[in-house]
Symmetry: C2
Subunit: 203 residues, 2 copies
């Protein structure tokens, strides 16, 4: 299909598609001449993935790393998860104290070597931000976080498809990035429901 | 204290403090003359909160709404939660289909009227983004999300302090915004732990 049809089918403006092409997020189409190219279903699928990532707030640079994990998947599903996570994680801060993060991670079943240090660093940064404003998570809430998140992760990892590397990559990459907004939105709904039950709603 | 001491104590550059003052995120200090002002502990506490929100990715406009909820808290804890959530939530999209979001919210215990529509819209947007790329969350994972998130929200809401409005506002506003990065980071650690257990780690 021509770029105009790709644009209409995916509901993405032509100028945006050209931007994705320039940024290397979408592979070039097959050249038909000096100024025209044709695009296939693979372009359409990739365009939808890129669009969803960008709309989910993933930066162009992160998006490029996700796309490269889709194009060139690592051999094992565990390495794949690491690649997907590191594509959307800031680099490790030098000098960050990982102790409190490791203690919390241990409650999830973490042992040294079972996890990319950048993810522990993200936990450490989040704990530090809470600490800076003097906010301490009540122990009952922290227990609920640890238990709930471990149960969620078990269910997610049990669902990783193993029939093809492409299917595993899609599941892991998109499940990491695109499920996050869903979880945060569900948490707010659940908080409002629990709050209405505890405090009542004023008429 | 002078602005230089405020800057040193909070570890925030003077230029940044002046920016927060101009943007209305931090109240003016007490004037000592044409070019000098003095700041108290309330400024220091507020500066730490603003800094943490901005570093957590909250925009200046959202931050201003959070700060205004801190300055002028609503009367009931349930309204307060609504104010905190709406401060950091995009406005409702016109024409968004809320049906699938309502069905999912019902599994959290939602009934019509127990929740700000903007939060349901956020769930709907997240579901739509997944749908656009053809990603479906496995039913076992969705069940784990719903059950885990409801248990977390119950523990969080049970912990809302009721001894003062200021304490409740801090808990709800900071718990909403600053705990999110912690939960996402813990989820990635838990996924890597569960993945290492399922797939093993290559030596």
């Amino acid at each position: 299909m021509r770029i105009s049809e790709l644009s209409a089918t995916a509901d993405v403006p032509i100028a945006t598609i050209k931007y994705y092409l320039r940024e290397g997020l979408l592979p070039e189409g097959e050249r038909l001449g000096a100024t025209q190219a044709t695009y296939g279903d693979a372009h359409l699928r990739r365009l939808r993935v890129v669009r969803a990532l960008i709309e989910a707030g993933v930066s162009v640079a992160e998006c490029r790393r996700v796309v490269s994990a889709l194009d060139d998947p690592p051999a094992s599903p565990h390495d794949l998860l690491g690649a997907a996570h590191s594509a959307v994680t800031a680099t490790t801060d030098v000098g960050l104290d990982l102790g409190p993060a490791e203690a919390l991670a241990a409650r999830l079943g973490w042992r040294p070597g079972t996890c990319d240090p950048a993810q522990l660093a993200a936990v450490a940064r989040a704990l530090q931000a809470l600490d800076h404003v003097g906010f301490s998570v009540p122990e009952a809430a922290m227990t609920a976080y640890v238990e709930g998140i471990r149960a969620m992760a078990d269910a997610e990892i049990a669902g990783v498809p193993t029939e093809s590397a492409e299917a595993a990559v899609r599941y892991v990459v998109l499940g990491t990035v695109l499920v996050e907004p869903l979880l945060l939105a569900l948490r707010r709904v659940a908080e409002q429901v629990a709050s209405a039950e505890r405090f009542g709603i004023r008429e």
